[in-house]
């Protein structure tokens, strides 16, 4: 008597409940990821990253590494499908989001035609702070690109196309707006002169280094731990990581610090507005992350706040 019972899998559309695909002779130890590949064979357009499979149309999505026989299904499994729309890989996402501001700012710095008035085309500002600001902005985005390519490891493979378009519009438009004022012929340098610029620059550099240190630390955490052994980040020998004593997401803390110091350095209201909005968004993310950590680890340090030491 054969012990291997093959499963049958029928895939229904989550909304219309129509049968989209019927798979027979599926191995019991097949993963959802493998089922997605099988589904892809019938529907060329719907590559696995675009597929959202669930056991209950209103329930949680199944993970790619879930095994068929461990799921609460009989030998005929009914799975509901939703199309997540075109997806883009994370690396592409970051390239699009960061290359835009990088080049757009430079267009304004060099005063490309049709931005400012005709006699200002390709002129340069007499203020050193303007060149400094350009260097800072450019280095910030180069650093981000390097991190995106070499440092980050991503848990999800992709992001929906719609989200990327929206994010890119936001980043690109904002960087154009702030670059417009900083590089404007009528730009007014900071009220407290060189002292203001230099202090702000120092803090900016420290925050960038801090942010980079945290990204490296988080990356190492993922590398050492592996997918099953989950640990939360700790301060290391690097003094920049000592912020972990006080906050769950020091990378966001440093990021806000960098943009705040950039605002002070340029004394430009649009930059301050960008900083404020970024702060709100990152606080929301930090709170979420903090909550996840607190739930998952019983020994999570009580002193830690999500993003601002002792406060928020």
């Amino acid at each position: 008597m054969s012990r291997t019972t093959f499963f049958e899998v029928e895939v229904l559309d989550g909304r219309t409940r129509q049968q989209l695909c019927f798979l027979d002779k599926v191995e019991p130890h097949a993963t959802i990821g493998e089922i997605k590949s099988l589904f892809h064979k019938s529907y060329q357009q719907l590559y696995p990253a675009r597929q959202d499979l669930k056991l209950d149309p209103k329930g949680k999505s199944l993970r790619d590494d879930d095994v068929l026989q461990n799921l609460p299904v009989g030998t005929t499994a009914t799975i509901y499908f939703k199309d997540l729309g075109p997806q883009v890989g994370w690396t592409m996402v970051f390239l699009a989001e960061y290359l835009g501001p990088l080049f757009i700012y430079l267009l304004f710095y060099f005063r490309a035609p049709y931005i400012y008035s005709h006699q200002d085309v390709f002129t340069s500002s007499p203020y050193s702070v303007v060149t400094l600001a350009c260097a800072c902005h450019t280095c910030h985005y180069i650093k981000r690109l390097i991190e995106a390519i070499f440092v980050h490891r991503f848990s999800h493979g992709t992001m929906p196309l719609r989200t990327i378009v929206r994010n890119c519009v936001y980043y690109w438009a904002f960087s154009a707006w702030l670059a417009f004022y900083i590089n404007h012929p009528l730009y007014t340098p900071p009220s407290y002169g060189d002292m203001q610029v230099n202090y702000a620059l120092a803090i900016f550099v420290l925050c960038e280094l801090g942010n980079f240190s945290i990204h490296v630390a988080l990356n190492n955490l993922k590398a050492e731990g592996g997918p099953k052994c989950r640990r939360f980040p700790h301060p290391t020998k690097n003094p920049f990581t000592w912020l972990f004593f006080f906050v769950s997401c020091p990378n966001y803390t440093y990021e806000v610090g960098a943009w705040a110091s950039f605002s002070v350095m340029t004394q430009c209201l649009p930059v301050a507005l960008f900083t404020f909005l970024a702060f709100i968004q990152m606080t929301i993310w930090a709170k979420g992350k903090h909550k996840t950590y607190s739930r998952e680890f019983k020994d999570y340090p009580h002193l830690r706040m999500p993003i601002i030491p002792l406060l928020l």
Binding site: Y181, L186, Y187, T188, S191, L269, Q281, K291
Partner: protein
Amino acid sequence: MSAPAIGTTKTAHSDVAPKKKRGPGALATAYLVIYNVVMTAGWLVIAVGLVRAYLVRGSYHGLYFSIEKPLKFFQTGALLEVIQYISSNVMIMLCSPAPGIVPSSVVLTGFQVLSRVFLTWAVTHSVREVQSEDSVLLFVSAWTITEIIRYSFYTFSLLNHLPYLIKWARYTFFLVLYPMGVTGELLTIYAALPYVQKTGLYSVTLPNKYNFSFDYYTFLILTMVSYIPLFPQLYFHMMRQRKKVLAHVEEYKTE
């Protein structure tokens, strides 16, 4: 915009499918009932004011001046609704595992109230020359009828005694009132443009200490352009709500 506030999907859904949900407590309900009764009364005052002024003057021109103060008071008072929604939803936001998600009703209500307040203060009040325009009467009357129906709808819903007529009116009148209000609003903004440009109203120019500039004239034009994507979305949203709400009632009737 002049659409009936879409932010009441909570109450709308309670017409559609009786769900077990955390409603407001007794004190909160009392406050909300009082609020909605006061708002209904306020907009009735505006409606009566308009009719009386028309009868006295014999023409419908320049009626804005007769209801200017109550209009400002009650339209601005609607900002309280945004606070109401935020406070009732803030507990959900704080406790939710993904606190980045804001219920769409907060966003939609907030947006509508803000755009109305903007029209009232930043356009009509600020640019004296447009106050005698007929387009002002167009949106004021659209808002008035809409708000009377909307606030009485909320009042009755809170008291769990909603006459079908009010529900029907709320989900039907908008079909005409919404385009009417939007037309009035757009024409008013358009009428304000030359005066804004001439006087440089609310505009900041370079150079200045904070390296910032703002051109109110361009801002108004962008506002007008934003109606193009936003108005159809809101309008069709209300039409979908209408199908849901009124269709279900018919189902109950046939049982």
